[in-house]
Subunit: 357 residues, 2 copies
């Protein structure tokens, strides 16, 4: 049994060996893009945070946990109301075990993390149920700065992995995909995916569209993360390999990037099998509809965990986030660890975090 | 004639070949640290800026010029009242010609640059003539964040080049060196180095010292750049090669770093011959007194320029800054360009900038 047995390949599988070789022999760099959409404040939309008022602390706290192993903005690491930890736990174990460097980017987080981060000057996105997400100039700013950051980071690495932390982001992702004409159904951090609520929000938001101009769609129903990461992908993929680390939100990034241009040959999506196997979403078919790229989905083996908090990821909670899937894939390729090795690392960390509370 | 003829080697010259080999075969990353000390507002201290009110725009404008080829914060690139350009012109030509990536760090600039940059949350330093530069906790913050940034950037590159843009920084550098007991005389951006004024400021500032604790010295008479870059050097030199790109200000960084610890084996200083040949300062002997490291000084050949604005660098104006010397050294090693090739690049850029005004 090797880590390859933990991988599932979708999309353009011809390009997979090239990506794996690149990740094995070259240097990778992980970037975590923090952002915020007020859409997450609609009750019932997300569980990223112990309660409504603490949701805005999740992105900076994820970043702080990756840096320090603990958070500064809040007391404990981000978790659901019943104590299930942030997927950043998986990301941290993946990056640390493979010694993959990472950098934090603030692309519209409501709260700045207490660590050195790349500042972009972007504001958070507005609640798309009631108003436009961003002004046109904010979308341009996000794309322009994304392009600059993507170009600079790409020139420092052989593979740029991009993850995100934006609570409520699956709802704006759904709106963007629908706005571009895809019949997307998206995953959620909640096992009983709140479809009706999401659809209601998205349908209301889409009424605001009066053109299919890509910038207009992002401005009316998107979020700063989608605009910024699409900009990053657009420039970085011209220079080096890029792995979008995430599920449905990265599908929306891909959809927007396909409008503004990016190098398909250097691009892949890396995610967890909890996303790709999610029958409530149509992740796979949506990616294939957008771009001819490889998708690597990893089974991190958490269903075998002795801890219910880790097992929960395999049962539909969180599923993905903070670039967990792409980080695990890069890490396994670099270290040769398989899912049982990785699970041991996560259990040790889980134990450290929850016995020290 | 090769670029090696343009180099002068000082200090521990045994380590020079290893540094040159590393710069030739590996990837370099240039980081520009922006900062500010209100000490620069003392009339007569600096010419970094067309007038007193515009000095604070010099660090962000230097960074913007490196990024965009023009400035956003101000209309023209930073220049002296009589039109001599910022040394960032040299840095830009060096980095661009060798395709060396760079990243901007805000470590206490009064004004943020209009581009993506690493944010540290540091405030600018106070005027050491009248008050302490920083609180103790600000010094710790600067060192801690410097260590974090240094660690992360070092893990992305084979050689981290660190430059600075802090107007008035030679005066705080002098104060720090004296505070640590070195009989330093420092260079200035002004040909008729305003010794008496500097000494008067430094002597007054040093009266504030009541201990030789290194953090105390930086807090009372230093600036945020010195604390931050020493932190960067301290962690980065444990991971990869580091070239401090600058003159007397980097000597002060080295002095503080030698107190908080750094890896001497991986450290060098790169500067211009306009600094190392400056008879009004004792740059060489001060470096040797502090640490057993190699110093590479490059002659960029600007004395042969047809433009008086470029020739001025060789006549004592600016001399160095924005990491020019270290960038030129890294660039020549990477491209094989010698000083006459480099001069052509600078003249072309100078022509572009000043005919487009």
């Amino acid at each position: 049994m090797t880590y390859l047995d933990d991988f599932e390949f979708l999309g353009n599988t011809n390009k997979v060996p090239d990506f794996i070789d690149g990740l094995k022999s070259g240097h990778s760099l992980f970037s975590l893009v923090l952002s915020y959409t007020e859409t997450c404040e609609i009750p019932g939309i997300t569980i990223a945070g112990a309660d409504k008022d603490s949701i805005k602390f999740t992105p900076p706290a994820d970043a702080e946990y990756l840096y320090y192993g603990y958070c500064k903005t809040i007391d404990k690491i981000p978790m659901t109301p019943d104590g299930k930890p942030t997927p950043a736990l998986l990301t941290k174990m993946a990056l640390d075990s493979a010694n993959i460097p990472h950098i934090v980017i603030n692309a519209g987080s409501k709260i700045s993390p207490q660590l050195p981060f790349i500042q972009t000057g972007l504001s958070y996105g507005r609640n798309i149920l009631v108003e436009s997400a961003m002004s046109d100039s904010q979308v341009s700013h996000a794309v322009d700065y994304g392009r600059m950051v993507g170009k600079h980071l790409a020139s420092m690495t052989d593979c740029l992995i991009i993850g995100e932390s934006i609570p409520g982001g699956t709802t704006t992702a759904l709106a963007v995909l629908r706005g571009f004409g895809f019949k997307a159904k998206v995953s959620s951090s909640i096992p009983t995916n709140p479809y009706e609520l999401k659809n209601e929000i998205v349908n209301t938001a889409l009424e605001r569209l009066n053109s299919n101009d890509p910038y207009h769609v992002i401005s009316k129903v998107g979020d700063p993360m989608i605009a910024f990461v699409a900009g990053m992908l657009s420039s970085a993929s011209e220079i080096t390999k890029v792995m979008l680390a995430g599920g449905t939100q990265m599908t929306a990034v891909l959809a927007f990037a396909s409008k503004i241009g990016f190098n398909v040959k250097n691009t892949a999506i890396g995610t967890t099998c909890y996303i790709s196997d999610d029958t409530s979403s149509n992740f796979k078919s949506t990616v294939l509809e957008i771009a001819d790229i490889p998708v690597i989905a990893v089974n991190p083996g958490l269903s075998n965990s002795i801890f219910s908090g880790l097992k929960a990821f395999s049962e539909g909670f969180a599923k993905e986030g903070a670039g967990a899937g792409g980080s695990i894939i890069s890490s396994m390729i670099k270290t040769g660890n398989d899912s049982s090795d990785f699970l041991k690392l996560c259990e040790k960390e889980y134990d450290r975090l929850f016995t020290s509370l």
